[in-house]
């Protein structure tokens, strides 16, 4: 019985500790942004890695998401005899929901896992200790360029996703169902408001922060992980954890932001 309560207490502490770490990590990273000279080059490098090199994946997934939205949307709207709304339906679905969420999930898979593994390996082989001993702030040198790049890239990638998705929806609507080009785009212009775009933008900014934050923090505190982040297996396990946690967080925050902004 006592062991049971001890276990509960222990687990609770572990839980609080790991979330406390996430908080401290973010505060230190943000602080390092304001307390030292800003350097553009490392940020550009990370933008290249997180953003530019994700473009192809985003184009591809955006196109197919738009196409399937066109297909399913046409099927549903057709039942109510309102195919004319296809453009609005596809655009709203992409801009408010699917664009930011799917972009974030793709970037987590491509860049989030890589960020976590890279930093985790540096922790494991004492490279982060070496940085600290050289009086180079690892939060400034390693983390903050990635965080800035994430916040910068996600809205842009999301915009690409949305645009290409809307085109994909049109391709299906026009190619398969011969819908009216004018009504597709005109309906979209009429029904998509600034509020919809704002919601998409807020989401993508938050997701950009979230995914780099969680991935980098997991890697950075690899040695404090409960399962023990030792060696190659520790890195791989922690990376998996980071991908799962950031994906789930994206979906949870997606709901919260939707609920707040609707």
């Amino acid at each position: 019985m006592r062991a049971f309560f001890e276990k509960i207490g222990y687990e609770t502490l572990r839980f609080l500790e790991s979330y406390g770490r996430l908080g401290i990590f973010l505060v230190r990273t943000l602080k390092s942004l304001f307390t030292s000279a800003f350097k553009l080059r490392p940020v550009l490098r990370q933008i290249h890695f997180i953003g530019v090199r994700s473009t192809f994946v985003i184009l591809f997934t955006g196109l197919f998401t738009g196409m399937v939205l066109g297909l399913q949307g046409y099927y549903t709207l057709n039942k109510f005899g309102s195919e004319g709304f296809l453009g609005s339906a596809v655009a709203l679905g992409l801009i408010r929901e699917l664009g930011p969420v799917l972009t974030a999930l793709m970037v987590i898979g491509r860049a989030g896992s890589a960020i976590c593994a890279e930093i985790g390996i540096m922790r494991n082989s004492e490279q982060i200790d070496a940085l600290e001993c050289m009086a180079i702030d690892p939060y400034r040198y390693l983390i903050s360029p990635k965080l800035l790049a994430g916040i910068f890239c996600l809205p842009l990638l999301t915009a690409i996703f949305d645009v290409i998705g809307i085109l994909g929806g049109y391709l299906v609507g026009f190619g398969l169902f011969r819908i009216n080009t004018g009504s597709y785009f005109q309906g979209m212009y009429l029904n998509v408001d600034w509020a919809d775009i704002k919601m998409g933008l807020v989401k993508s900014l938050v997701f950009g922060l979230l995914l780099v934050w969680i991935a980098a923090c997991k890697g950075f505190y690899l040695h404090l992980e409960r399962t023990g982040g030792f060696g190659a297996e520790g890195v791989s396990r922690t990376t998996t954890d980071a991908v799962v946690l950031s994906s789930v967080s994206v979906l949870v925050w997606d709901y919260l932001i939707s609920a707040l902004m609707i």
Binding site: E118, S125, E126, Q127, A130, E132, M134, A135, I136, D137
Partner: protein, 270 residues
């Protein structure tokens, strides 16, 4: 029975001071009350069996590990009480070689050595190039500047680590086994180099080494770590003459005594 440092007569200022440092990892008690003092411009050599906590002591001095008990002071400041910025101030005069060299494995040799200059100073590309190449030539690495750490031998990695540690002309250096993995010629060269730079720059040094007795030539003080305590910290001449049983056993063993039984010994040397 930790012995008080026999340095009362030394009157240069104290740079590093460990007082009653205890450290436990889980159930394992690694340090059981370590007292050590390092004076400015002096070289402390820490010796002791593998796994006794020499690297752990260095990591305490660097502020990478906090003691479970006791204090670690550098330049009179208690490392545990410093915030990150203050800790960086203290560390900015450090040059560190880790036991595993801890090179940045996604940078080539040149960038590894150049990193401290790029991040910590505002020197031009040419100045940085000059300094980096100077240090790499000292270490005999000028032909390997483009290689990545994974493409180097163990001894080469050590030398890159040393070049990186020395590139900012530090006031205090920490070398964890600088010559392990080097051949005799290379390590002798390194000792000459240490001696000369020490004469020039007058840095304070903490060196962990298994290269006994050769390393004694560099030492102002030698400390033996055993059973989680410093078993005596004294000038090398005294160390080699010491009557303290553990030190004596250590010295005799490094002189080639194998502690075999008479019978075994006859067999061994037959």
């Amino acid at each position: 029975m930790s012995t008080v440092n026999s340095q009362a007569q030394n009157n240069s200022p104290v740079v590093i001071e460990l007082a009653g440092v205890k450290k436990r990892f889980g159930r394992q008690m690694v340090l059981r009350g370590v007292d050590l003092v390092v004076h400015e411009g002096r070289t402390l050599v820490i010796v002791g069996a593998s796994g006794t906590g020499k690297s752990v002591i260095i990591k305490h001095m660097l502020g990478l590990i906090n003691p479970s008990r006791g204090t670690v002071k550098v330049f009179g400041r208690d490392l545990q009480r410093l915030n990150r910025r203050e800790l960086n101030e203290v560390r900015s005069s450090f040059g560190v070689l880790f036991q595993n060299a801890a090179l940045f494995d996604s940078m080539n040799v040149y960038d590894n050595v150049a990193l401290p200059l790029r991040e910590r100073t505002r020197q031009s590309k040419e100045e940085i190039h000059g300094k980096v190449m100077g240090k790499l030539e000292l270490m005999g690495l000028e032909k390997s500047v483009d290689k990545f750490p994974a493409q180097l031998s163990g001894g080469m990695r050590k030398r890159v680590g040393l070049a990186r540690a020395l590139v900012l002309d530090p006031k205090v250096v920490f070398f964890d086994e600088p010559t392990t993995g080097l051949d005799v010629h290379k390590s002798n060269e390194l000792y000459r180099l240490f001696y000369r730079t020490q004469q020039q720059l007058g840095y304070t040094a903490v060196i962990v080494s298994h290269d006994v007795p050769k390393i004694f030539k560099l030492a102002d003080e030698v400390a033996l770590l055993a059973d989680g305590q410093v078993q005596g910290c004294m000038p090398p001449e005294d160390f080699q003459m010491s009557e303290q049983p553990m030190i004596r056993a250590f010295v005799e063993e490094t002189m080639g005594h194998l502690y075999l039984s008479d019978e075994e010994e006859a067999d061994f040397y037959a």
